[in-house]
């Protein structure tokens, strides 16, 4: 169940060290947190953190440009975590029904949102949660905007988008599809009937170029083309198709054309291969699917044969950007080339369609763009706001979502105070580079790659290319996360500078600075060992705290009170359980009734007091399942866990506990979790 208590305004305190993935994300998704929950196979909770700032988990998990991965510090060791694919994995596991709670309408005011793309629906979602009545107007038959009509099923299946939208609308948002503003209803009526209006119509018009031959038969434009294919009103447009443009939309168009059966698709763009605005992984997919890419060429003339497109003549580009980095292409004076083609699709940029504002008090500038305050996103008409691509220009879906959040905050602020929202730029500072010595101490581990269907098979239809992670793959991938920023912090009032942390840290991070220990978050790997060992209880490890072991013990104590017979609690290493013959998620519900499992990312974070706490909670038997020696994720975590077990065993035997009250059951190839639990109970 996704809680209503959402964080529509992410608060970052200046001293907080953000995981770089979080700092890089336009909506500041706490990726580190949901990835660590996946590493512990807790998908419901993972979804909660994903949805805290992103109401489109299924869609964004498939199409996000994932700046988080570019920032991921695992990339400094080997390769970044597949964060985006892990987000999608959570959606795959949950099955798309997030059971949204109905938002309570607590305010009298109503808001109209024009456009149901990622920006408009995000704003609608937030505003509904803030207590407003929200209506969304969409000119198409279905909601989703560019996610619906600009992206084909092979990247984002309509069903998955439908799930996201159903969950968003499920909070209590009125959606009016097939309603075009300025045609079915006037803008002034909408403005009159509502306390605020948000324009989130995106950039829905594809631009062309005034080239000779641009009026020939066989000329198409990217967005109408993609929309028509999506609506299945378009089929194959030619055997030898030329796509003009080098951005992501151009790549999408080219890949779509291939799927429609065109034998040859050539992309032509001004930029060199390195300068192409399309993402590398998109280009890679296109190349795999047989798309040809012709870089550093500018279209000069469309060649006509009997009124029909016959090819393209283009000029060689000397450079695309000037010395100041501005787009200012220069062409070679003479070098020209021709390629053949029976259709041309322009995918060179998009424009806005805001004719419905004609006659309203919403001003546009001399370039036909909305006149907008960048902080409040307010137009010249104080209760009319804009968000998404119409406000900021072309961008990724996640940026549109971020813009939707901001618009919602701004509208709420304006309706509550009568004043425009000011500059609320928060400083998002991610942790800097991992220190050299720490890097040397971190084990390398290979990134799990998203499995895809074969390039040849892909072209047969519009089936989704990415297959999705299996549970094992996803959990292994998530376990590569360095848990940046979830590590140790020292309570300086309690620290006694005993040097324990300095001595036990497998990554050599803690240092005594002045009279107390300092554990630099830049290097800390969140293994939790110092926290478990510190004799003064002066170290709190965020990730250990997130394991909620104390509250689990309280919960278990209550459960145990209700049952009779022998009871056991097992502490299991989540890294080590990947060696076992079955996974924790597989055995949940099948364990003997009186056995409770507490999982941890490395048992090095389990303290003596936690083990004793398990006995206090009512366990007759407690068992530790550390990873097999020599395979410890944190080098010494399992060794310390084993030693603690010996220490506690001795202590228990001195007070009358039987020898096997505390047992160690290392995880190895083929360890049976259920069998082990049964044996522990039996002995």
């Amino acid at each position: 169940m996704v809680s209503n208590e959402r964080n529509t305004k992410v608060k970052i305190t200046p001293e907080e060290h953000l995981a770089p993935c979080m700092a890089a994300c336009p909506v500041i998704t706490d990726a580190r947190k949901y990835v660590s929950l996946i590493a512990r196979q807790k998908y419901d909770e993972a979804l909660r953190y994903i949805m805290e700032n992103n109401p489109f988990p299924a869609s964004i998990g498939r199409v996000c440009v994932h700046p988080c991965e570019s920032a991921c510090r695992r990339g400094q060791i080997d390769e970044a975590i597949s964060i985006c694919s892990l987000k999608r994995f959570v959606d795959d596991q949950i099955g798309g029904d997030y059971k949204p709670e109905k938002a309570r309408t607590t305010k009298e005011k109503s808001i109209a949102i024009i456009g149901s793309g990622p920006s408009g629906l995000t704003a609608a979602y937030d505003l509904a949660h803030l207590g407003y009545r929200v209506s969304v107007f969409e000119k198409h038959e279905k909601a989703g905007g560019m996610l619906r009509y600009g992206i084909l099923d092979y990247r984002l299946p309509q069903d998955d988008l439908d799930k996201d939208i159903a969950n968003i609308l499920g909070v209590g948002i009125e959606l009016k599809t097939g309603t075009e503003i300025g045609k079915d209803i006037t803008f002034s009526d909408i403005q009159k009937d509502n306390d605020a209006v948000l324009i989130a119509v995106g950039l829905s018009i594809s631009r062309g170029l005034p080239l000779p031959g641009a009026d020939l038969d066989g000329i198409h434009f990217a967005l109408p083309f993609l929309e028509a294919v999506n609506n299945k009103t378009y089929g194959k447009i030619g055997d030898d198709v030329i796509v003009i443009g080098g951005g992501n939309v151009a790549v999408d168009v080219a890949r779509t054309v291939r799927r429609l059966g065109s034998a040859s698709v050539k992309m032509v763009c001004l930029e060199s291969r390195d300068e192409m605005p399309a993402h590398d992984w998109e280009i890679e997919d296109a190349l795999q699917e047989g798309v040809e890419i012709h870089c550093s060429f500018g279209p000069h003339r469309i060649i006509g044969i009997d009124g029909q497109v016959g090819g393209l003549e283009f000029k060689e580009v000397d450079c695309v950007f000037d010395e100041d980095g501005r787009f200012n292409p220069k062409f070679h004076p003479t070098n020209k080339t021709e390629i053949s083609g029976d259709a041309v699709i322009f995918a060179i940029g998009q424009g806005s369609d805001i004719d419905f504002l004609n006659g309203s008090k919403v001003d546009t500038n001399d370039r036909g763009q909305l006149d907008l305050d960048i902080n409040s996103m307010q137009t010249s008409s104080s209760n009319v706001f804009a968000s998404g691509e119409i406000a900021y220009g072309p961008g990724a879906a996640i940026q549109a979502i971020a813009s939707g959040h901001r618009a919602a905050r701004s509208i709420d602020h304006f309706l509550e105070t009568g004043r425009p929202l000011g500059d609320e730029e928060s400083k998002k500072i991610g942790l800097s580079e991992i220190p050299k010595r720490t890097k040397e101490l971190i084990e390398s581990s290979k990134r799990q790659v998203m499995p895809t269907i074969d390039a040849g098979e892909r072209l047969r239809d519009f089936k989704e290319v990415d297959v999705g992670f299996s549970i094992d793959t996803a959990v292994r991938e998530a376990q590569r996360c360095l848990s940046c920023g979830a590590g140790a912090s020292v309570n300086k009032d309690k620290c006694i500078a005993c040097l324990t942390c300095v001595r036990v840290c497998p990554y050599e991070v803690p240092k005594i600075v002045g009279v107390v220990a300092n554990i630099d978050p830049v290097g800390c790997q969140s293994c939790g060992i110092c926290g478990a060992e510190c004799p003064a209880e002066a170290i709190e490890v965020k990730l250990t705290k997130e394991h909620l072991i104390d509250s689990r013990l309280v919960e278990i104590e209550e459960n145990f009170k209700k049952s009779s017979g022998k009871k056991a609690i097992g502490f299991i290493c989540q890294y080590g359980q990947m060696w076992a013959s079955e996974r924790l998620w597989q055995v949940e519900g099948n364990l003997p009734g009186n056995v409770e499992i507490i999982d941890a990312l490395c048992l090095g974070r389990i303290s003596v007091n936690m083990i004793l706490g398990a006995f206090k909670a009512g366990a007759d038997k407690v068992y530790l399942m550390p990873c097999n020696s020599g395979k410890c994720h944190n080098k010494t975590g399992n060794k310390l866990a084993l030693q603690k077990a010996e220490f506690v065993k001795e202590l228990l035997s001195s007070i009358g506990y039987v020898d096997d009250a505390l047992q160690v059951r290392p995880l190895d190839f083929g360890t049976h979790l259920i069998g082990t639990a049964e044996e522990v109970l039996k002995n």
């Binding site: 006694i496 036990v504 004799p535 206090k616 009358g656």
Partner: protein, 231 residues
């Protein structure tokens, strides 16, 4: 620093007898560093006692608290209310802290939770060794910085006994013969002459042999200077 270790739980359980409400007071100084009586060990001792009593069918109520240094009146003073409410107080400080508690709270039943063993240092994580015997007349200047009083089983001052073999003391493999270490170090420094002469009999009066020791700095006294000087 002072080294201590926790008493066996069984021994403490026997001492607390029928006391039901216990207060375990830890110390934030030496015994925290040697993992005997700091905040974490205080809690684990409390848990151990709870579980031990439970095994015998007794339900103990145990609270824990800390003193920054239990060997100071001022730091144990804030514990008054909690001490008064407890049937017995277990001090996980060194013997000094236990006595501070007992003197501060003469009505209370104060029980030591630790055995104080020595003055020494953590030579590595989890290993503490005795380094100082508190003899009151330090000889380290003449022994290469290695204390024969604390580190020789017999506190010999004139070189090793016949029980030194291959650098190991006859009492056990874990104990190095400190006289071998002294010899090696001084030889390395070319200062063997320091131990070549006869050593006069050590005056053991500044050590325990002169009775309980009392250290005085008259320049620091604030109250009752005259009285202190006359003592």
């Amino acid at each position: 620093m002072i080294i201590a270790e926790q008493k066996p739980l069984r021994e403490i359980l026997n001492i607390i007898d029928k006391d039901k409400k216990l207060l375990v007071i830890g110390c934030g100084a030496c015994v925290s560093i040697c993992f005997a009586g700091g905040e974490k060990e205080t809690k684990s001792l409390a848990d151990g006692l709870f579980l031990g009593a439970k095994k015998e069918g007794l339900e103990l109520s145990i609270e824990t608290d800390m003193a920054l240094r239990q060997c100071e009146w001022e730091f144990v003073e804030p514990l008054e209310d909690r001490v008064k409410k407890a049937d017995a107080v277990i001090s996980t400080a060194c013997g000094v802290g236990v006595q501070t508690m007992a003197e501060k709270y003469p009505e209370a039943k104060i029980i030591p939770g630790l055995n104080t063993t020595s003055m020494g240092m953590p030579v590595e994580q989890g290993v503490w060794k005795e380094y100082c015997g508190g003899c009151g007349d330090c000889v380290l200047a003449f022994t290469g910085g290695l204390c024969p009083v604390a580190r020789c089983a017999k506190s010999l001052l004139n070189g090793p006994c016949g029980g030194s073999k291959d650098g190991i003391c006859e009492i056990g493999r874990d104990t190095e013969c400190v006289w071998q270490l002294i010899y090696d170090r001084l030889k390395g420094q070319d200062r063997l002459e320091l131990i070549m002469g006869n050593v006069l009999a050590k005056n053991w009066e500044p050590a325990r042999d002169g009775g309980p020791r009392r250290t005085l700095r008259t320049d620091l006294l604030i109250r009752g200077e005259k009285d202190e000087e006359q003592k």
